[in-house]
């Protein structure tokens, strides 16, 4: 027998005792010995799962994230049915923010162990973060069924999920139950406090933070949440003091990226614009350094070039359009760059009884991913749409449309008594052409705001939309210009049911603008839309705090306070500002 052909398990059988010793050493608190033994084994047999597992645990305890992830990947690759490894990998990816890949592994976990509460818990956590809370809720509830008892952590997870769905009463009841079962869990108290803050019960939120402080006086999350609550209680100076105290207790007196941005926003409300600008710049810089993420410049450029190349008059004449379904509620699309006022427009529209709220639906983007499979195409989107010319794919758009509608219903955003539901996924304008093919009769409302005000919001908040363009001012501006040029292209090449709405008009002449909006959607005038701030629906996005306040002029022309900070973006944005009629004077 040729030695090289020996199966690995047999070939490395002599290493089993070493692996056992490594496991025992790790179990008995001797990580150095365990590490040495595990490395020794892996030197000889790199695929020994036991040794990999031990080393994984050691690296995880050391906080070595890249090594931990690499080891988890190896374990999963070696044995796709390894549930613990799959679970660990999914959690690692969730913590890293890579929700798409985390979901792949969470789904695998459910396939491997459909009756394991943790596999469903994973799905719940990941899909809640991926803004599909309705599907996540199903998995949390399944996990609760499978768990022997009402696990307080699961209850708190479900409570957070329901908070994200705006179901505050149910969320509160679950938090209470979870807290009663495990009053010492910090995450529960923090989540609950944030739920109460979102539900505008600021005093209750403060009480819960007091409880958390008694339990864990140095909890960072608690302090940041405290600052947020104080800010919403119109006590920005006290909020800044909380953050400063947090910084003072740290080496180098540094705040994290989120904390810096929160501080900047608080300083902004105090009128301390220079200090606010500094906090924003520092926060963004730190976010870049810590995440290692940056704008996917080349990818964005190529994607937009491909979209422009595909969606042309000549080709569109040859493409069919999906039929319009009249048996189910239809989407109306609210487009706009992140922080351009889409939440405000959605809150306004969804105050109307004929329009239900869909919030940021990831569905159009999902369809672009699924398209090659659904249309049986060797090409990716948008070129995969060329399959519609094939005899067996003529109804392809109808199938894509139905997938969207079915998933929207599954997500619970559809109310049968309301003929419309909103989809306000920012930057969906990138896919304006696809939207018009799928829903040719759906109104498309594009929220436009002074680009420099958009940039103020872009530097004062973290968002990952737009291929990470928000990580730096210049890249946010670049992406803004690219997307607006793409919108122009679509509007030139296609006949669209499209209405641009100025954020500034919403502020300056709210009633006329809302009348125009409702007219465009084709629903009757409804007075309640003017009082959108009374719309108790919780908007999940970063704007929720603003949209629960009445309209205020201060949100228009904020860029003037940050002219110096914004200077690098002005030459990039100048042509589009001129076209849109916005000045820098």
């Amino acid at each position: 027998m040729v030695p090289g052909s020996l199966p690995p398990a047999a070939a490395s059988r002599h290493l089993v005792p070493l692996v056992e010793r490594a496991i025992q050493a790790h179990r008995h608190g001797a990580p150095e010995t365990a590490e040495k033994l595990a490395l020794e084994v892996l030197e000889l047999a790199p695929d020994r799962p036991g040794a990999l597992s031990v080393l994984y645990e050691i690296r995880k305890a050391q906080g070595n994230r890249p090594a931990t992830e690499a080891l988890a990947r190896r374990l999963v690759a070696l044995d796709p049915n390894n549930f613990p490894a799959t679970n660990e990998l999914a959690l690692l990816l969730l913590n890293k923010g890579d929700l798409a890949e985390a979901e792949v592994h969470a789904r695998n976990a459910v396939r491997i162990a459909p009756e394991n509460a943790q596999s469903h818990n994973l799905m719940g956590m990941i899909l809640t973060e991926a803004q599909r809370p309705q599907v996540a809720e199903y998995h949390y509830r399944r996990a609760l069924e499978l768990a022997a008892a009402r696990d307080p952590i699961l209850l708190a997870n479900l409570a957070w999920n329901l908070k994200n769905q705006g179901r505050m009463e149910e969320s509160r009841a679950l938090y209470e139950e979870s807290f009663a079962g495990a009053p010492e869990v910090r995450q529960t108290l923090l989540g609950w406090a944030r739920m109460e803050e979102a539900d505008r019960n600021f005093d209750r939120a403060a009480e819960l933070l007091d409880k958390l402080e008694a339990l864990a006086p140095d909890d960072v999350g608690m302090k940041v949440a405290r600052a947020v609550v104080l800010g919403r209680q119109k006590k920005p100076a006290e909020a800044v003091a909380v953050l400063d105290a947090l910084a003072a207790g740290r080496e180098g007196a540094r705040l994290g990226p989120n904390e810096l941005l929160e501080k900047g926003r608080l300083l902004d409300s105090l009128g301390e614009y220079e200090a606010a600008g500094q906090a924003f710049i520092e926060g963004k810089k730190l976010a870049r350094e810590l995440s290692g993420q940056q704008y996917l410049d080349q990818h964005a450029n190529q994607m937009i070039a491909r979209l422009k190349g595909f969606f042309t008059q000549g080709r569109l004449k040859l493409l069919p359009r999906a039929g319009v379904r009249t048996d189910v509620p239809q989407p109306l699309f609210i487009l706009g760059f992140p922080r351009s006022g889409t939440t405000l427009v959605e809150q306004t529209l969804t105050a109307h009884p004929m329009i239900s709220a869909g919030d940021e639906l990831p569905l159009i983007n999902d369809l672009t991913q699924m398209m090659p499979r659904m249309l049986n195409s060797p090409l990716t989107y948008p070129e995969a749409l060329a399959e519609l010319w094939m005899g067996d794919q003529r109804d392809g758009l109808d199938r894509l449309r139905d997938n969207y509608l079915a998933r929207a219903r599954q997500m619970g955003v559809v109310r049968d008594e309301a003929p419309w539901f909103t989809d306000k996924m920012p930057l969906n304008e990138t896919h304006l052409g696809l939207i018009a093919l799928l829903f040719p009769a759906s109104p498309v409302i594009h929220v436009i705001r002074h680009p420099l005000d958009v940039m103020v919001s872009a530097i004062s908040n973290l968002f990952t939309h737009g291929l990470y363009c928000g990580h730096a001012l210049e890249t946010a501006a670049t992406h803004y210009v690219r997307v607006m040029e793409l919108v122009e292209h679509y509007r030139t090449e296609m006949s669209l049911k499209y209405l641009p709405v100025r954020y500034e008009d919403m502020i300056a002449d709210q009633e006329a603008t809302v009348r125009a909006l409702l007219g465009f959607v084709g629903v009757d005038w409804y007075e309640g839309c003017l009082a959108f701030h009374e719309n108790r629906r919780y908007a999940r996005t970063a704007s929720y705090a603003q949209v629960t306040e009445k309209l205020y002029d201060r949100s228009v022309g904020r860029w003037r306070n940050y002219r110096g900070v914004l200077e690098p973006a002005i030459p990039i944005l100048a042509p589009i500002m001129e076209k849109l009629g916005y000045s820098t004077e």
């Binding site: 008059q313 569109l316 004449k317 319009v324 040719p440 009769a441 109104p443 594009h446 436009i448 919108v487 122009e488 292209h489 679509y490 509007r491 030139t492 090449e493 296609m494 006949s495 669209l496 049911k497 499209y498 209405l499 641009p500 100025r502 008009d505 006329a512 009348r515 125009a516 007219g519 465009f520 959607v521 084709g522 076209k579 849109l580 009629g581």
Partner: protein, 478 residues
């Protein structure tokens, strides 16, 4: 291989670089200009001007070369330079007048033209240019006088005759106007009505006589709008001539429309498909033959009709794009850029922006051609549906118009189409209007459903749009 190693190689002949006289270079450049080789002309003139920056003739010719390439402001700099160094040269003044005119600097154009005439009173071209600038300034008496003076010197100057035609027709003096209008084919650079290879001496231009069963050839000359406007005369021509058959040559875009007026005619697009004929006439010449006067302009509206199936299809399409309850206003903001009066009649979509503040209106862009992308870049308050992307032909445009409340447009072919259909159409007319819109009136006998909104100042549409806005608000009020 190095030079030293290649002994067999013969040394290159020594070229003596003798300087070419500037005058010769200039002559070559002038020849290039004359034959349309503008880039080559410009290159040579740059050499001349590098060496002789104050050479007036070179500056002047450069102005012409640059002007012909569409760089008018740059051309003006050269022309003004020519006049600086060649003070009071009538030719320069005559040409700079035209340049000022196209740049909307009418006062300077007038001054230059007058100076040219004063310096060269016997030059009919100077008088012609002065007539044109007077006409563009709506100084019609002066325009006629100058054209008359030019014709006194050269009775066969087509340009002066054409100025007279335009003024007379615009004033409604049609009998004389139509006669003068016949000179349009003699203007320099005008395409012949029939190419020489098709034209035969024994097949004359029709003068209204009976053709007794023979074939009358009608030619859809000039722009699409002219063809649509004058196609109303086709039934008259058939009847009046007693022709046994009608052949009509026109652009392929118009074939289906013309077919409505002459169902049995042989309609062709290429001259090699032209059937034998006994006599020919331009469609634009038929009003003269019909002895049309303002009060006898035939307006059998509608004389064109949209296809019923297309009307239904576009009704559905518009119904999906425009919410119920919205009034629909069609928009066209530019004509064909190659039209010699385009700068006068076309505008930009942004000009219409004030209209977009009117509530309850959806605008439908019917614009085709290079100005279409403007629809993509306007972010105004009202919905704008860019149908330009989906319109295939005039048949689509007609069917869409049947689904609109009113069409607002500059003076381009679409207004003729709307007028021929009998649709409400509001036309923005330049300060110096095309003759067919006559002078001063808000209506037109050519199209009873048409309303004219005239400019009060050249190149200024603001007040026109403001008036349209008021009118629209009233017209579309519930």
């Amino acid at each position: 291989m190095s030079a030293a190693a290649s002994r067999d190689e013969k040394p290159a002949p020594r070229v003596l670089m003798a300087p070419v006289p500037v005058g010769e270079i200039f002559q070559v450049a002038a020849e290039y200009e004359r034959t349309g080789k503008l880039a080559e002309a410009e290159r040579l003139l740059r050499h001349v001007l590098d060496a002789h920056p104050t050479q007036a003739d070179a500056l002047h010719l450069m102005g012409i070369v640059v002007f012909r390439q569409g760089r008018r402001k740059e051309a003006l700099e050269f022309m003004e330079g020519a006049l600086t160094y060649g003070v009071d040269t009538p030719l320069y003044l005559r040409n700079i007048c035209e340049l000022y005119r196209t740049l909307w600097r009418h006062d300077e154009a007038l001054a230059a033209a007058k100076r040219a005439v004063a310096l060269a009173p016997a030059d009919p071209l100077c008088l012609h240019n002065l007539a044109i600038i007077h006409s563009e300034r709506a100084e019609y008496d002066e325009a006629l006088a100058c054209a008359q003076a030019a014709l006194a010197i050269d009775p066969k100057q087509p340009g002066a005759h054409f100025v007279r035609a335009e003024v007379l027709l615009a004033r409604g003096q049609m009998e004389e106007g139509w006669e003068e209008y016949e000179w349009r084919f003699q203007i320099g650079g005008a395409a012949p009505l029939i190419p020489p290879q098709v034209l035969r001496a024994d097949r004359p231009q029709w003068q209204g006589e009976r053709l007794d069963g023979k074939t009358l050839l009608l030619i859809g000359d000039q722009g699409f709008g002219d063809v649509i406007q004058f196609s109303r005369y086709i039934p008259w021509a058939r009847e009046h001539s007693g022709a046994g058959a009608i052949a009509i040559g026109c652009g392929k875009e118009l074939g289906e429309l013309i077919r409505q007026l002459a169902p049995r005619a042989a309609i062709f697009q290429k001259w090699d498909e032209c059937p034998p004929y006994a006599a020919y006439a331009a469609l634009s010449g038929l009003p003269r033959l019909a002895k049309t006067r303002v009060e006898t302009i035939p307006a059998p509206i509608p004389y064109l009709r949209a296809d019923a199936a297309k009307i239904v299809a576009w009704r559905e399409r518009l119904g999906s794009l425009i919410p119920k309850g919205f009034r629909r206003v069609g928009l066209v903001w530019a004509g064909r850029p190659a039209h010699n009066n385009d700068r006068n009649r076309s505008t930009s979509l942004a000009t219409y922006k004030p209209l977009f503040d009117l509530p309850g209106i959806a605008f439908v862009a019917l614009q085709k051609g290079p100005a279409t992308p403007q629809a993509g870049g306007l972010f105004a308050r009202a919905p704008l549906v860019n149908l330009g992307a989906e319109i295939g032909d005039y048949g689509d445009t007609m069917a869409i118009m049947e689904n609109l409340d009113v069409i607002v447009s500059v003076d381009t072919s679409v207004v003729h189409l709307a007028g021929a259909l009998g649709r409400p159409v509001w036309v923005m007319i330049p300060r110096a209007p095309d003759w067919r819109w006559l002078l001063g009136r808000e209506d037109t006998p050519w199209y009873p459903t048409m309303r004219l909104f005239r400019q009060t100042k050249p190149n200024a549409w603001e007040d026109v749009v403001a008036r349209i806005k008021v009118a629209l608000a009233g017209y579309l009020a519930p």
